[in-house]
């Protein structure tokens, strides 16, 4: 038997704005997305987290979206410990892969760096969120042509319905060719707005 699933909170970041739970938290038209992400870190992260500056752009985006979402919802330490994180995008880590490829393209200018190489995987951002929030839950990273609520939510529901967790952080996190976009939502089997695919797609379209 299927349990009821709720949307407990959501957060989205684009090149120019950040929206959380129907509220536009900030808008910025002057900055490029890298500077915009730094300003979000400065203004919306309550903790000092120097590791942030070592991350690639996709991990920074994932980290910040999770940070702001979790700040704007209630969750116990136990719930955070079991939080499942299921993310997706189209380009995997190609934005950072291209940087790494440039470092090995030329035989006479060959400088592969472990600090870049480690970010040439799409799931590293999930790892960064898990470290920050002490989450030991289920992880998966999917590659889809565009945001696919059906895939993410079907998978999230298999975790919720089998009691593997009570909370799943789902979403989309993409950084490519000078653009960033994220949309994370927290699905829960305890409280929030009743989930439907139509609901979540409407929220996604409205951002």
């Amino acid at each position: 038997m299927k349990n009821t699933v709720y949307i407990k909170a959501y957060c989205a970041i684009t090149n120019t704005k950040m929206v959380c739970n129907d509220e536009v938290l900030c808008e910025e038209n002057e900055l490029d997305y890298k500077s915009f992400l730094k300003s979000i870190y400065k203004n919306y992260c309550e903790v000092s987290y120097p590791k942030f500056f070592k991350m690639d752009e996709a991990s920074k985006l994932a980290f910040l979206t999770a940070e702001v979402l979790l700040k704007n919802t209630s969750m116990t330490e136990n719930e955070k410990e079991d939080l499942a994180i299921i993310l997706s995008n189209k380009s995997a880590s190609l934005n950072t892969d291209r940087d790494y490829q440039n470092s090995i393209q030329d035989k006479n200018n060959f400088y592969p760096s472990p600090a870049i190489f480690v970010y040439t995987l799409p799931n590293i951002g999930i790892g960064e969120i898990c470290i920050r929030h002490k989450s030991y839950g289920e992880n998966a990273f999917y590659i889809t042509e565009k945001f696919d609520a059906n895939l993410l939510s079907t998978y999230a529901q298999t975790l919720l319905n089998t009691n593997k967790t009570n909370n799943v952080l789902c979403g989309w996190v993409e950084v490519e060719k000078g653009k960033c976009s994220s949309f994370f939502y927290l699905l829960s089997n305890t409280e929030g707005e009743l989930y439907s695919e139509k609901n979540i797609n409407e929220i996604y379209q409205s951002i």
């Binding site: 995997a92 892969d97 190489f117 995987l121 929030h133 895939l151």
Partner: protein
């Protein structure tokens, strides 16, 4: 809860182009790892397990005549999947799913010298190519979760089947050896100068490899099938590139997979470990297995035969574990001589006859990810 079974499968690797050929070579103690002198991949010779282009093209030409359109990875994955579909005799209808697992896909398409368009570097392009080749009606689900991808894909298939989204799912995995990955692991000083020695005292790092594997996972039992009775994936929440010193995520994955298996699991008779042969990974695994009270269970790593095949390794090593279980033979962990982890493990040294009722496959990867899946005869 619906029962889910792992059935027909195919391994394409340096040790053969069918599962039975691979198992035969393992029984004979052969490793696919050889000294490679391809200067396009590295200025200095290095050890790796590589599929010969000539052999692959020949096998591929039997199913398709436009070989030049496809990358090596695509040919490997298509060939593997083709064989599994053929063996199963199943029709690809609108309740047939396809899960694709790859860590780096066609990453070499980013190289300026690649004959292929950069577009091929997108995993979605790899998905489309495979979907079109087989005229599959459903959009493939692509999993890319570092080195646990292959075994995670099995867990994902089980869940989607239990959610009744599909009646049957083909899982196909693949990764190839590239300058990208080789230089990356080299920059970490993680590549072994000799063929890798998982769990051994003198292990010095990874040997890389390439493989494509496929498996049909379904809800109906047949004589080919073994049941998938539990799975879990837990994060270390510790470090993005270094394994946890307490084996936290792996320990939790094992514990949760075992809990899900419940009464179906009488005893774990064998562990197909990750065993990359880096100092820290193998040490971490020994700690996690010790914490899970599994130190005495026979364990091996297949990395000594195939090297680390990244997103394919989890599926490859699950198939070999299933073969081990079906044949009641434990395969040795080649490269292992002297115990070299804080907690001694029961590493398999030679082909050993043993009735295996159930085994666990584990994997761990960058990003702190870990996955465990339990199979039962």
């Amino acid at each position: 809860m619906i029962n889910v079974y792992a059935t027909y499968n195919t391994i394409i690797s340096s040790l053969g182009f069918s599962t039975s050929e691979n198992v035969q070579n393992i029984l004979e103690g052969k490793s696919g790892i050889e000294l490679q002198k391809d200067t396009k991949l590295s200025d200095v010779p290095f050890y790796a397990s590589i599929i010969q282009d000539e052999k692959l093209n020949q096998a591929f030409s039997a199913i398709n005549t436009t070989s030049e359109k496809y990358t090596k990875l695509e040919k490997m994955m298509i060939l593997s999947l083709h064989k599994t579909i053929q063996a199963s005799g199943e029709k690809l209808d609108d309740k047939t799913g396809l899960i694709i697992s790859s860590t780096k896909g066609n990453i070499e398409a980013l190289d300026k010298e690649s004959p292929f368009l950069e577009e091929k570097a997108y995993l979605t392009s790899l998905g489309e190519t495979i979907q079109h080749f087989f005229s599959l009606k459903t959009t493939p689900i692509i999993v890319s979760n570092a080195c646990v991808s292959g075994v995670l894909a099995i867990a994902v298939a089980k869940r989607f089947l239990q959610a009744k989204k599909y009646d049957k799912i083909f899982v196909v995995s693949g990764d190839v050896l590239t300058k990208f990955v080789l230089s990356g692991f080299n920059s970490f000083k993680a590549i072994s100068e000799a063929p890798c020695k998982p769990f051994d005292k003198n292990r010095t790092g990874i040997t890389l490899g390439e493989a494509a594997c496929s498996m049909l996972i379904k809800t109906k039992e047949n004589k080919e099938g073994v049941e998938i009775i539990g799975e879990a994936s837990c994060n270390d929440a510790n470090h993005i590139s270094g394994p946890s010193r307490t084996g936290e995520g792996l320990y939790r994955s094992i514990k949760k997979a075992t809990q899900e298996a419940g009464e179906k699991l009488k005893k774990l008779d064998y562990i197909s470990a990750h065993g990359t042969a880096t100092l820290f990974n193998d040490e971490m695994e020994s700690i996690a297995f010790h914490r899970a009270a599994l130190s005495n269970v026979p364990v091996n790593s297949y990395k000594g035969y195939y090297g680390h095949t990244l997103g394919s390794s989890g599926l490859l090593e699950s198939i070999l574990g299933i073969e081990s279980m079906k044949r009641s033979v434990l395969f040795p962990s080649i490269g292992f001589e002297t115990s070299g982890t804080s907690y001694a493990l029961n590493v398999i040294r030679e082909n050993t006859h043993k009735d295996i009722s159930a085994f666990i496959k584990t994997a761990s990867g960058f990003g702190g990810c870990n996955t465990a899946v339990i199979f039962k005869k």
